[in-house]
């Protein structure tokens, strides 16, 4: 653990050094104003940029490694985001719902029609009425 901490501190120091190198030619006045960059400026700026990027990557890597070890030891608990609630299904448009309703009711209508046909053919054998319903309707 301590070695990773030392690595993190060294990387952060190097990051600061890299940032300083990038601004040093302008801060120290070795780069003339309103002139093209001189050789020392170019060298220091790009060296500082590379150092800053590498140091940042190193610091992040060491910090992630420390965090990993703390989690493995149970000293740090990882917060898990709550799972998002499922979004309610949007209501289907009216046209679609009536078409679905018709398709759902079609077998029922067919069954009713068959039942009525059977009743019409066997109307004489009805026990609770003298005439079939169809006959009653026709006699009205």
């Amino acid at each position: 653990m301590i070695r990773k901490f030392v690595g993190t501190v060294a990387s952060v120091l190097a990051l600061v050094a890299g940032l300083w190198l990038m601004i040093a030619p302008f801060a120290l006045g070795t780069q003339p104003e309103n002139a093209d960059w001189t050789d020392p400026t170019t060298s220091e700026f790009f060296t500082g940029l590379v150092i800053a990027v590498v140091a940042l990557a190193g610091a992040l890597a060491f910090a992630a490694s420390i965090h990993e070890e703390l989690v493995a030891r149970g000293l740090v608990t990882v917060r898990r985001r709550p799972e998002p609630e499922p979004e309610p299904v949007p209501a289907a448009p009216q046209g679609a719902s009536s078409a679905e309703l018709a398709s759902l009711l079609a077998p029922l209508v067919e069954a009713l029609r068959e039942d009525m046909n059977k009743t019409a053919h066997a109307g004489e054998h009805r026990q609770n009425g003298k005439a079939t319903l169809v006959g009653v309707e026709e006699n009205r």
């Binding site: 070695r3 050789d39 060298s43 060296t47 150092i51 190193g58």
Partner: protein
């Protein structure tokens, strides 16, 4: 794996420190035989410090890793 990435960064930083020390003479903005200019002084101090800090961090890392190995070996024997 992440620690290895960090160690690689430390090695690169050590090399960058060495480069900074050599840069004034390699690039040629430090005249030979003349007093050190400001840019040279800046590079020498910063490069030396960077190389030293990176080197110490690498040594500490290696020493702690070796100590942990020795502790594990001792624990395995007993």
């Amino acid at each position: 794996m992440k620690a290895k990435l960090g160690v690689s960064a430390l090695v690169l930083l050590f090399l960058a420190g060495l480069w900074l020390v050599a840069a004034p003479f390699a690039v040629g903005y430090q005249p030979r035989g003349a007093a050190y200019v400001d840019a040279t002084l800046n590079d020498l101090w910063l490069g030396g410090s960077l190389a030293a800090v990176s080197f110490v961090a690498l040594v500490v890392y290696a020493a702690d890793a070796l100590r942990e190995l020795a502790r594990r070996a001792k624990h395995a024997e007993s």
